[in-house]
Symmetry: C2
Subunit: 339 residues, 2 copies
Amino acid sequence: MTSDASSGRRSTIHEVARAAGVSHQTVSRYLRGLGPFRPQTIEQVEAAIEELNYRPNTIARSMRTRRTGVLSVVLPSPVEQMPTPMLAAAGEVAHREGFLMEIAVVEGSPQERAARARELMDSGRVEGVLSLSGLPGLEESPRSATTAALAVLGQYDDRLRGIGPLADASLVAEIVRRLAAMGHRRFLHVQGPQEWASAAARRQIFEETIAADGLESHGVVGGAWSPETGHAAIMELAEDSGVTAVVAANDYVAFGVMRAAHERGWRIPEDLSVVGWDDLGVSRYAVPALSTVAADRAGQGRFAMERLIALVREQDPPTVMPEMNTLLLRESVGPAPRR
Amino acid sequence: MTSDASSGRRSTIHEVARAAGVSHQTVSRYLRGLGPFRPQTIEQVEAAIEELNYRPNTIARSMRTRRTGVLSVVLPSPVEQMPTPMLAAAGEVAHREGFLMEIAVVEGSPQERAARARELMDSGRVEGVLSLSGLPGLEESPRSATTAALAVLGQYDDRLRGIGPLADASLVAEIVRRLAAMGHRRFLHVQGPQEWASAAARRQIFEETIAADGLESHGVVGGAWSPETGHAAIMELAEDSGVTAVVAANDYVAFGVMRAAHERGWRIPEDLSVVGWDDLGVSRYAVPALSTVAADRAGQGRFAMERLIALVREQDPPTVMPEMNTLLLRESVGPAPRR
DNA sequence: ATCGGTCATGTGATCGGTCACACATGCTCG
DNA sequence: CGAGCATGTGTGACCGATCACATGACCGAT
């Protein structure tokens, strides 16, 4: 904007101090808003900053203070289905608390991801790391002098109980029972990738509920979050399979299921009922409108970020998040067809 | 893992050097893989690193080298429809070139976003900034000593010519002409938010083509990227509007359009043809399958990131990206109904 | 006249690395 | 046999901030 100092080098606090005729420490204090100043001093410092177009070097500051104000969310690599509402909410919380949230996309296997996350924690670049997927070998930790804090959402423990709300699949039981109440007896589950806590939990609850309630499972197929998965699952189904209800891993999968049913000439919900998970923005606009679970991703994002920030500050983490999933039954479910 | 040094402080290169019986410089060289070493030296240094559980402090390194290896993508705040395939591809390029890509979600008006981006560029924390939206007052720049490089994708210039491939809307003309060839005469455009270069460009080309080809526009409505927008646009349409073809701003909007048509009892494509933009993963699985433009987001992401990296390295930026949009006509378009 | 306290500012060390350069050793070659 | 060179390593300055502590001016109280 104004004269851009003399050379291409960026100016430092010392140069500002010299230009203002004060000590570097005075400038530093000014920048941090500390201590009272003589009006004249303020004026001179401000003029010098303006003239030299000075901006503090965050790196240098971080080196001394060991604070960076940056929290990092690490995401597994197939980033296509990034949980954006969650990230948006998490970012909002971070912003409110004075942090900058960055998203780091990390490639590779769970082991490689864990190594990269570890590296990030040790680099000094961030004060906290939030992982949305499990990181084998790393455990949640408060911030220490040696590393950044770590919060993990959606991780499973040894008994496959998700500790994060992400993995809470209890509503799958509700789905199955509601469908059973409408007369459905034979179910198909199209599962997601089993490395994901949430996918594994949904499958587990599905099978448990089928068994507990004396219903029939035609089986579990699939293994990805994509529409293709759902499409293939239905196309491979025998004409006389007897399946009248499909529990899909998520809405993407459910879209594929609905499309395949259409292609086979099966009406939804008259011939087949379908339920997804996630309540994508377009799901209620599908024809027929897709039944799903609204997972309050925003709430989960807030929760996760608040938890991380508490760990960073070595405060008490927030209490366990209440159940926040909501089952939305729309046009894609109906009474089971008569045999 | 092993003994965690003595205290809570993290160990430094000097401590490693002392433990290994070499100079700090030798350790530094070892870490950077420079120069040859005596086998014994390597052994001692590795043992010391292992024993002290040493990790280099990236901040301290960056301070001296002025390199951070971090490129930042700044996204506007309503992050719900984050262009994930683009980000994924961009991240891949960054990774391949030895950079870490972070995504910074920035809140506020375009002006505020520009200010935050500026701050990020001046902080020294990142070497380059890639903005997916326009930043008023900031222009693309190579990396200088004073700030990070900036690349802007989808920005418009004074004459509303998008400089980024994102804003290339030329296929809108093709869409309109293909529909006209099927007998459509009266069109509706449901536009996106006009602050977005891409939305503005699509609208402009729509209107230009209508005028140039002597067709009729029922008007332009809407102004957001959401299904609600498309839904409302159709619900408000008079029964005798004469509109037989809708050009929607993107697939989200198109989903809303299709749903509303269904609710009004209009068949697609027999009564109404609909075209979206973006080719969402679920679009080809919709019933009827949604016609759209596959924008090769991944290609755009790669292009943008390569451009940024070239700016950072002060090399020649890649040549202008070739046309990469593809029109996909699916079930949602058909011949115009007879009056 | 001296003392203690507040106000406003200055001095030098420090964070943990890299950079520039010096230096010691052993080998080859004229 | 010493110059020249490659090999391997060490010394101290430096990046740009903050931190800990010192200092000088001014004030009212003893």
